[in-house]
């Protein structure tokens, strides 16, 4: 027993270098019951957190996997098969369109902040503050704004494009921040060497700096994909809830997350809703795995 606590202490703590004998350690434990309780509480909290996460994943998967039938993946949605295929295709279109706009915007903005704006630039503070504000705004507010601006004022109607543009504003700060960090991590010596060889600023940015920052930027873009796939509130009143793939971007169509919301709020097709949850969950797991792999590669250098 004594041995056990000592081993646990040594492996868990940084105080392993202390040359205390086992009995001294045991005495210390007895004399400080508060410390024992606190460390027990800490470990209990950590176990709770990770048990919750594990339970959530397992529960969602276990509830939904039995209902993943081939009917769910038929191309047309009818009230009989409640197919999720149109929503899946819409999600894909939505992701591609949003990223096609948000990724260049975010990366260019980061290039401006890192490569062009000096420290004393008065705009940098303003841009930072607004980007921070954007990242704190709840998605329903984005949804309302998208409805007022893209759907009503620009007269696009409920459409994939209106939804995608709303999502662009939403994921922009995320892509900006990660790209900025990635660009900042590129050593200045790269830039200096490129200038020294006679390359211009643009050439240096596009052929030297950007390629070395690609993994970091990619990690940010992948996180953005995760947010786009899971977003519901911002799309409810911008992209609409039509359960079909529209013929062009100006048509309305629901994404997977919206499909799941509609099913579970109607309450008639809970089984299909749990199957949809499994599909979303698998996407989230894959996306997280990918960004983790990239992060590992960055850490290795």
């Amino acid at each position: 027993m004594l041995n056990n606590t000592a081993v646990a202490d040594a492996s868990a703590g940084t105080d392993g270098k202390n040359d205390m004998s086992l009995t001294a350690r045991a005495n210390k434990k007895v004399r400080h019951p508060g410390s024992v309780i606190l460390s027990a509480l800490t470990i209990f909290a950590a176990v709770t957190t990770f048990a919750l996460l594990l339970f959530l994943i397992v529960y969602i998967l276990a509830k939904g996997i039995p209902y993943l039938t081939s009917d769910l993946f038929s191309l047309e949605y009818t009230s009989d098969n409640v197919s999720l295929m149109p929503s899946l295709i819409n999600t894909f279109i939505m992701t591609v369109v949003s990223l096609a706009i948000a990724a260049p915007l975010g990366i260019f903005a980061a290039i401006f902040l890192v490569e062009y704006a000096g420290k004393g630039n008065k705009f940098v503070g303003l841009i930072r503050i607004t980007a921070e504000t954007l990242s704190g705004i709840p998605s329903i507010v984005y949804g309302l704004f998208g409805m007022l601006f893209f759907v009503t004022t620009l007269k696009w109607g409920m459409s994939l494009l209106a939804g995608a543009c709303t999502l662009v504003i939403m994921v922009l700060p995320l892509i900006m921040r990660t790209s900025e960090e990635a660009l900042k991590a590129v050593p200045d010596s790269y830039r200096e060497a490129s200038f020294g060889l006679g390359a211009g600023k643009l050439r240096t940015i596009f052929t030297i700096v950007l390629p070395s920052a690609v993994p970091g930027i990619l990690a940010g873009v992948i996180l953005a994909i995760g947010r786009i796939i899971g977003e519901t509130a911002a799309l409810l009143y911008t992209a609409g809830t039509v359960a079909a793939v529209p013929s062009n971007l100006m048509g309305s169509g629901r994404t997977l997350a919206l499909h799941m919301y509609v099913l579970s709020s109607e309450g008639l097709h809970m089984n299909q809703a749990s199957a949809t949850a499994v599909v979303i969950m698998i996407f989230v797991l894959v996306i997280n795995g990918l960004s983790g792999m990239i992060a590992k590669r960055i850490a290795k250098g």
């Binding site: 470990i43 996460l53 975010g106 507010v141 984005y142 995760g226 579970s264 979303i280 969950m281 797991l285």
Partner: protein, 285 residues
Amino acid sequence: MTHLKEKGMKCIFMIAAFTSVIAVFLICVFLFANGIPAIAKIGPLKFLFGTTWKPSNDKFGIFPMIVASIYVTAGAIITGVPIALLTAVFMARYCPAKIYRPLKSGIELMAGIPSIVYGFFGLILIVPLIRQIFGGTGSSMLAASLLLGMMILPTIIGPAESAIRSVPESYYEGSLALGATKERSIFCIMLPAAKSGILAAVVLGIGRAIGETMAVIMVAGNQARMPQGLLKGVRTMTANIVTEMGYATGLHREALIATAVVLFVFILIINLSLSLLNRRSSNAQ
């Protein structure tokens, strides 16, 4: 020619950088322009402190929703913050190096799970559980608080952990050298030193909880009346917007946008205090 290209691209980069400024500006303009007239028409006091929300009778008081949002957020803080902070302490000071990476990516995964999935989890597990244990419908303030408490865990753990990590190691060693136990050194020396960073993490969690929509709407019951107890249904500001926006017209629609204005002001205040806290914690080091 090259000179022109360089200048042109610089302009493009700058315009891209200003997108976020333009976006914030547009969001403010459109929300306020559509919401403020409605508040004026209803009467600011009647709108903010009126306790009946009956759009069919032209009664637009959002006080029940404001209170519900605050209650549910408070509930999330009570259930989520202690666990989140202790987990952050675990991650920063207790976690064995071997399992650190998997645990860290577990927290990232938790932050990446969409709120609709959390909401569904609440709907098929937490709500029936509450119904079985306490009776009633189960869709209640308690369900929303528990679910939100779970959702804000990763939001708080990440920043709180880095705040604890940024406390100089010498504080810890100094405390140990004076004879304090490991726990005493962490909880009485390290945590107070990381105070403003930890507070910023909690504020971030509050922002997430008050703005959460889809998860809350699925478990909170959404009755538009003053909160009547832990086991009774409530409707938050976010839920109010989503449930009625689909069919609202005229003043009713504008009143919903005005609800979003109030929510937006709440978020702006939270953001402001967050940036003040962050400035303080970066000054402290």
